[in-house]
């Protein structure tokens, strides 16, 4: 209401910022024409591919940092430096290497999440109390694959979960930024189209969709999962539930 009233009273022009009615209308037509859904689908598809890549690479890297001191001192140090670089900074390189296409966007999206995930994995594994490792060894786990899947991963889970959440947020950012510049249908591209057409209502819609998707995924997937795990691990009391 305030939004619409302000729009009318101050009388700013719609090429700067849309009115409430324009936004709702654009939202409706966007969905009716499938344009918005299409963009969401394409963006999410890229996001999931990139996210899967960065989780696997990040976890393997993190495991190596935690297990081998030599790797931690060399590559591990580099990763911390790399983590401070916003992944969008790599886009020009990605465009030279892969061209204006999906691969470039997926590349920088994955890059944004990988470093964070590897550092979270490293911290998680390093923080597993040694008694769990000893208990597992004494029960015949050995020191290889079974130790990794049955003790290291679940033992590091509270940290891993946090890593996944932060990585997801980083991936989102990198994705939208990447789509703005590189090509391909997606939310970022839609934003760019909106700017080209002077369609501020469309642009605002995309921003809102990004916020809503981010919040929903965080709240309904990660936060729920994390809370459940923390209760189960005895790190937080379950008296609330």
């Amino acid at each position: 209401m305030i939004w619409e009233a302000a729009y009318r009273l101050i009388g700013w022009e719609s090429w700067k910022f849309p009115s409430l009615f324009q936004t709702v209308e654009s939202f409706y037509t966007g969905f009716a024409h499938g344009q918005l859904l299409d963009a969401i689908y394409n963006s999410l598809r890229r996001l999931f591919i990139a996210f899967a890549i960065s989780l696997s690479i990040g976890m393997v890297l993190g495991l190596m940092f935690a297990k081998f001191k030599a790797i931690d001192d060399t590559i591990g140090f580099m990763v911390i430096a790399l983590q401070t670089v916003p992944s969008i900074a790599w886009l020009p390189f990605a465009i030279i290497w892969f061209g204006f296409n999906d691969v470039s966007v997926i590349f920088i999206t994955a890059l944004g999440a990988t470093w964070t995930m590897s550092i979270a994995t490293r911290t998680g594994i390093k923080n597993i109390p040694p008694i769990y490792l000893r208990a597992a060894q004494t029960l015949g786990t050995g020191n290889g694959w079974r130790m990794f899947t049955q003790i290291l991963v679940p033992g590091a889970f509270p940290h891993l979960m946090t890593g996944v959440r932060v990585s997801w947020a980083f991936a989102w950012r990198a994705l939208v930024a990447g789509e703005l510049i590189a090509n391909g249908a997606g939310l970022g591209q839609l934003l760019q189209d909106g700017r080209g057409l002077g369609d501020t209502a469309l642009m605002l819609n995309v921003v809102i969709i990004i916020a809503v998707l981010g919040t929903l995924s965080d709240h309904f997937c990660f936060k729920k999962l994390e809370d459940r795990l923390l209760v189960r691990y005895g790190l937080e009391s379950n008296s609330k539930s």
Partner: protein, 285 residues
């Protein structure tokens, strides 16, 4: 009870590198032989190296001088033939009691149905039947330790290595668990190496008590406890051995205190030592 030797520790020494670069001798020239089916305690004040010895037998630490053989073979890695029960239980917090107890069988490739069934049975055996589906943090200290013992027993190990398993429990729970452990030992005939700083606990449970001296850790004296099983805490023989162990430890404690306080005139034995509560000496050092 068989008469085969189970564990042979032969002239074993262990040094640690300290942060300032100096080497610190944790245990020095320790030799112990433990027969199959024997219940042996290592008793000594904190920091005397008793847990170090256990870690070497368990295979957690392979940097030492001398030889350690278990059933005739050198120890190469930790393994389920000599399961360790820790002071801090070490149950995996992300698994239920049932999953924890079944964990070792899973490593051996036992099918899910069978291992859960056997785990349930083992859990009933340690009187935790009702709590099989709880998570460790939902259990009391004594129940956690029971679960840890069940997790070890299900592997049917030849040897149980127990590293102060009851030290963190209250006195009442500890007494109950002493009875249960003795019962388990009598039924299964396992070889048990039990680490403790509690004199009463060591004498009540063991066939032999090895008293350790400290810095560096060596075996100071051996006491054989020939009291009848199951043990009775009122048995005069138990009291007699307890008294002898205490005299033996008193010298040791005096040495430690003199060192820590840097006071050569401190005398511990002068104070009427025997009138004190004797059940938990050594713990406070």
């Amino acid at each position: 009870m068989g008469f085969n030797t189970m564990i042979v520790i032969d002239h074993v020494s262990k040094q640690f590198q300290q942060r300032d670069g100096n080497r610190f001798k944790a245990i020095d020239d320790v030799s112990i032989t433990i027969k199959e089916g024997e219940f042996v305690s290592l008793l000594g004040p904190s920091g005397c190296g008793k847990s170090t010895i256990l870690n070497l037998i368990a295979g957690f630490d392979r940097q030492f001088d001398g030889t350690i053989k278990v059933s005739g073979e050198s120890v190469k890695a930790p393994g389920p033939d000599r399961v360790v029960v820790f002071q801090e239980h070490g149950l995996f917090p992300w698994m239920t009691v049932l999953e924890n107890v079944a964990f070792g069988l899973k490593q051996q490739g036992v099918g899910k149905k069978e291992r859960l069934e056997r785990a349930r049975e083992q859990i009933r055996y340690v009187h935790l039947g009702k709590f099989a589906d709880r998570y460790p943090h939902e259990l009391s200290g004594g129940m956690k330790q029971r679960a840890a013992i069940a997790r070890a027993l299900i592997m049917n190990p030849k040897i149980l290595l127990m590293d102060e398993p009851f030290a963190a429990l209250d006195e009442q729970t500890r007494l109950v668990l002493h009875k249960e452990l003795e019962d388990i030992w009598m039924k299964t005939g396992k070889t048990i190496l039990f680490i403790t700083h509690n004199i009463r606990e060591a004498v009540m449970l063991s066939d032999r008590v090895l008293v350790m001296s400290t810095r560096p850790g060596t075996i100071k004296k051996e006491f054989v406890v020939q009291a009848a099983r199951p043990r009775d805490s009122a048995d005069p023989l138990i009291h007699h051995v307890e008294r002898s162990v205490m005299d033996c430890l008193a010298d040791e404690m005096e040495k430690v205190i003199k060192e820590e306080m840097d006071d050569d005139n401190y005398s511990f034995k002068k104070n009427d030592f025997h009138n004190r509560d004797i059940s938990d000496m050594g713990g406070g050092i």
